[in-house]
């Protein structure tokens, strides 16, 4: 016999997520930090946790997106339940300062940052690579493909 509706309680387990969003090129470093602060508040209100955050700098885009040729890249590593991420996705899609955004469900977070990055936009120094040297970089150089 099926249970009545009020007995059904959906339990969401804590999962690991990775979000990347691109902010408009006109924004200053303080604006980007304020924007990420807005999103971290959504997650902490939903009893989630931010494992780490990265700022990749004002990078050149490969093609123009909404009349922008450059953009601020920010990555957030999150541990929270699914409805919190759904809310974050909704808020990010409505925000006009954000050009593109993406959320991935991942099995584990990586400690090393692959692109040159700093924690906040204020600390970022252009031209200086602040990422740790990746152990696999030397292996990638050895790959040779002859067509």
């Amino acid at each position: 016999m099926p249970r009545p509706f009020h007995f059904k309680i959906k339990i969401f387990s804590m999962a690991l997520y990775e979000t990347v969003f691109i902010a408009r090129q006109d924004l200053s470093a303080d604006d980007v930090d304020a924007l990420t602060g807005k999103f971290t508040k959504i997650i902490t209100d939903g009893k989630g946790k931010i494992v780490s955050r990265e700022y990749w700098g004002l990078r050149n885009l490969a093609f123009k997106v909404k009349k922008n040729s450059r953009g601020h890249y920010v990555l957030l590593n999150i541990k929270c339940e699914y409805p919190v991420v759904a809310e974050l996705n909704r808020v990010m899609s409505y925000n006009e300062d954000i050009i593109r955004s993406a959320i991935f469900n991942v099995e584990s977070h990586r400690d090393e940052s692959s692109l040159f990055a700093s924690q906040t936009a204020k600390d970022y120094k252009p031209g200086k690579s602040q990422a740790k040297p990746n152990s696999i970089d030397s292996l990638i150089d050895q790959i040779q493909i002859d067509i």
Binding site: A62, F63, V65, Y73, I136, L139, I140, I145, I147
Partner: protein
């Protein structure tokens, strides 16, 4: 029948009256790189598996294992959406 190593890519097989060259099987170029390392952030790796025009190279040319080719293709498609890689490189 005797087998001699003629070249790096080929193996010379000499039968009774004739000798034939057989192409050796190439191994996967990503054998030393673990699967979780193939992500959209690793642009250095992804650019090696694109053609001059920016297309994904097929595995019959690069000899990548099917599991890693799938991960590679997914990573490239995500990187294109985030404007890290251009989908087409035009010649001028």
């Amino acid at each position: 029948m005797s087998i001699k190593k003629a070249d790096e890519g080929y193996v010379k097989v000499s039968l009774v009256n004739q000798s034939v060259f057989i192409r050796k099987k190439k191994s996967c170029p990503l054998r030393s790189i673990p699967l979780p390392e193939i992500t959209y952030k690793n642009l250095k790796l992804l650019n090696k598996f694109l053609s001059e025009r920016g297309k994904i190279l097929p595995s019959r040319i690069t000899n990548v294992v099917p599991k890693k080719q799938k991960a590679l293709a997914n990573a490239i498609k995500i990187a294109r959406q985030l404007a890290l890689i251009s989908p087409i490189k035009k010649e001028f």
